[in-house]
């Protein structure tokens, strides 16, 4: 497998060099050429800085309001128009050099005949050879999963059933892994999640589930779907307990929390796998973790998953393409290469509330995976930002204005 990867990398490198030599067109995006360089400072500091540099007035008698205060908000606003931390997390990561997949190409212009030929060769290999092979494997894997778990469902509950169910799940997931040509490196397997715990990971695509489940057995959590997905879900739950919710039950947070905590209390049941971001993010950052899973009070096993985008971008942009389209793209990439780190288990400490605990776990995952730790909610992919954030800024600014007035009335 590594031979395949190494030769692919050499291939890309040679392709890039050829292209660059033929022509001084930009083949790749030089995003090291960032437009804004800023360090994080607070609202108060920055406004004071602006006042200091502008006015010749003595700051001891600073007036409450200066007309130049507007510059702070103005600059923040325009900077966020040029580049912001959030919207770019919802589209695929940009690559430094082209990997011969049309989909990861943003500025394609006809560079050279040689490159086009290489690309054409790549298409033939991927669609003519790799894709049919993978699709066959995928159907085999899924089919076996459905059939075997249904058969196991007839067995009486007990150790034999659990053992067989684990073997079946592992085997089928491993076939699916081959179907995607996913090359996974697991780190620190001694920290693998144990029964009665909750496994949390950052979410990039539905493939995350396959990657984790091929190395260990988990109880899945999710909504029951119709169609093929529903068939798979129903047969899986015959062999071992997963937590599937009806669509109506998902809204009821207490019900969800109750079912989850019932599950973790039963030590014979498998650890639960949850993605607290609630949505797919493009694997450059970790966004806000929903606190639900952190309120339950059992041990949390954080897992960091980082994909290598050079071989195939695993991010599922659900607003851009549906599931089937996505899977086809996955199966026609070169390979899916990723690293999985099992982090040491964490529990909620004294005096820490669920939100703080969630942020602590998130920071640990971000650090390990080399991802940016953001406080923004992944729900911003589809929804509007809450007004409370704007009100916070307004409050901070008002304090600056009114605060000095209070001092004045005292003196």
């Amino acid at each position: 497998m590594t031979f395949y990867l190494v030769s692919l990398l050499k291939f890309f490198f040679s392709a890039k060099c050829k292209g660059a030599k033929d022509n001084n067109h930009l083949l790749y995006k030089p995003y090291s050429n960032a437009i804004i360089a800023k360090e994080p400072t607070s609202l108060e500091e920055e406004i004071k800085e602006i006042r200091r540099s502008g006015s010749n007035r003595d700051l001891d008698h600073a007036s409450e309001f200066e007309m130049s205060d507007i510059f702070y908000f103005c600059r923040q606003g325009v900077e966020s128009i040029m580049d912001d931390e959030v919207t770019k997390r919802f589209s695929a990561e940009e690559l430094e050099s082209w990997n011969l997949l049309t989909r990861s190409n943003y500025n394609f212009q006809h560079i050279s005949l040689r490159l086009t030929v290489l690309w054409g060769l790549g298409v033939v290999i991927r669609y003519g050879f790799l894709l049919p092979l993978r699709v066959t494997l995928a159907f085999t894997g899924v089919g076996l999963l459905v059939v075997l778990t249904s058969i196991i469902g007839f067995l009486p509950n007990g150790r034999m059933k659990n053992f067989l169910s684990e073997q079946v799940h592992l085997m089928c997931y491993r076939i699916c892994v081959r179907a995607l040509t996913a090359i996974i490196t697991y780190h620190d397997s001694e920290n693998k999640p144990k029964n009665g715990g909750i496994c949390v990971a950052n979410h990039t695509s539905p493939i995350d589930v396959i990657i984790l489940a091929s190395d260990g057995c988990y109880a899945m959590v999710g909504q029951i779907h119709g169609g093929l997905m529903g068939v798979i879900q129903k047969s899986m739950v015959k062999a071992c307990p997963h937590i599937w919710f009806e669509r109506s039950e998902v809204k009821d947070r207490h019900l969800v929390a109750k079912r989850l905590s019932d599950h973790v209390e039963d030590k014979t049941k498998l650890p639960i796998l949850i993605f607290p971001e609630g949505t797919c993010i493009n694997n450059t950052s970790v966004m806000m973790f929903k606190k639900g899973s952190f309120e339950i009070g059992s041990t949390v096993y954080p897992v960091a998953i980082k994909y290598d985008p050079r071989f195939g971008d695993a991010f599922w942009n659900s607003s851009q393409f549906g599931m089937v389209n996505y899977l086809l793209r996955m199966m026609s990439s070169w390979a899916i290469v990723c690293s999985v780190w099992y982090l040491p288990p964490m529990t909620r400490e004294e005096g820490e509330d669920a939100v703080q605990f969630a942020n602590r776990v998130k920071a640990a995952i971000a650090r390990q995976g080399g991802l940016v730790d953001l406080l923004w909610d992944g729900g911003l992919k589809r929804g509007k930002v809450k007004d409370t954030f704007k009100e916070e800024q307004q409050k901070l600014y008002s304090k600056m204005l009114v605060g000095t007035q209070e001092d004045r009335s005292r003196s």
Binding site: L26, K29, P30, Y31, N33, I35, G54, S55, N56, S63, E64, F65, E66, M67, S68, D69, I70, F71, F73, C74, R75, Q76, G77, V78, S80, I81, M82, D83, D84, E85, V86, T87, K88, S91, T102, N105, Y106, N107, F108, Q109, W376, L380, K384, V385, F389, K390, E391, E392, Q393, Q394, K395, Y397, S398, K399, L401, V402, Q405
Partner: protein, 182 residues
């Protein structure tokens, strides 16, 4: 290949924008990809909703005013040229520009044009004066509900008193310049 080809920026356009705004080639291509990623409707123009989708801008108290500055009078869409022209105001002034041809028209990012941009955030009706009402409106946007009307009114009065020099109870562009910098 595919749909992107139709929205690619042509070399001539890049040159024109470079001349007009002073941004470098790579900065222009960078901002172009930013423009296209904001353009969810993929029709080559941005609407106000496209801007409001940026969370950091949506929580900015002056967000709406700043967005307004991109749209010419009465229009609801801005194309890439207009986008760049407005952003050009914020390009830092470089030393080598000071020696340029003095007969050339003032660059978009000159000090005076930067200040005019800020002035226009206050002066909504574009009558070249900031009235007490206009000042109050902006103040209200920046403080939200945290300061009472009376207090805000007295802040506005004090500001106009200090800045107004010709006694017309409003702030002209020149008075504004004198107030915010030396």
């Amino acid at each position: 290949m595919g749909s992107r080809a139709s929205t690619l920026l042509r070399e001539e356009e890049i040159e024109e924008i470079k001349k007009e705004t002073g941004f470098s080639h790579s900065q222009i291509t960078r901002l172009y990809s930013r423009f296209t990623s904001l353009d969810k409707g993929e029709n080559g123009t941005l609407s106000r909703e496209d801007f409001q989708r940026i969370p950091e801008l949506a929580i900015n108290p002056l967000g709406d005013r700043i967005i307004n500055a991109f749209f010419p009078e009465g229009e609801d869409q801005v194309n890439f040229r207009g986008f760049m022209r407005t952003l050009a105001h914020f390009r830092p002034i470089e030393d080598n520009e000071k020696n340029k041809d003095p007969t050339a028209s003032e660059p978009l990012n000159s000090r005076s044009n930067k200040l005019l941009f800020a002035f226009r955030l206050y002066d909504l009706d574009r009558d070249d004066k900031i009235s007490r009402d206009e000042l109050l409106q902006v103040l209200r946007m920046m403080v939200g509900v945290n300061i009472s009307d009376e207090q805000l009114g007295s802040i506005a009065d004090r500001t106009i008193q200090e800045a107004d020099q010709n006694g017309d109870n409003s702030i002209s562009f020149n008075e504004f310049i004198k107030k915010v910098c030396l």
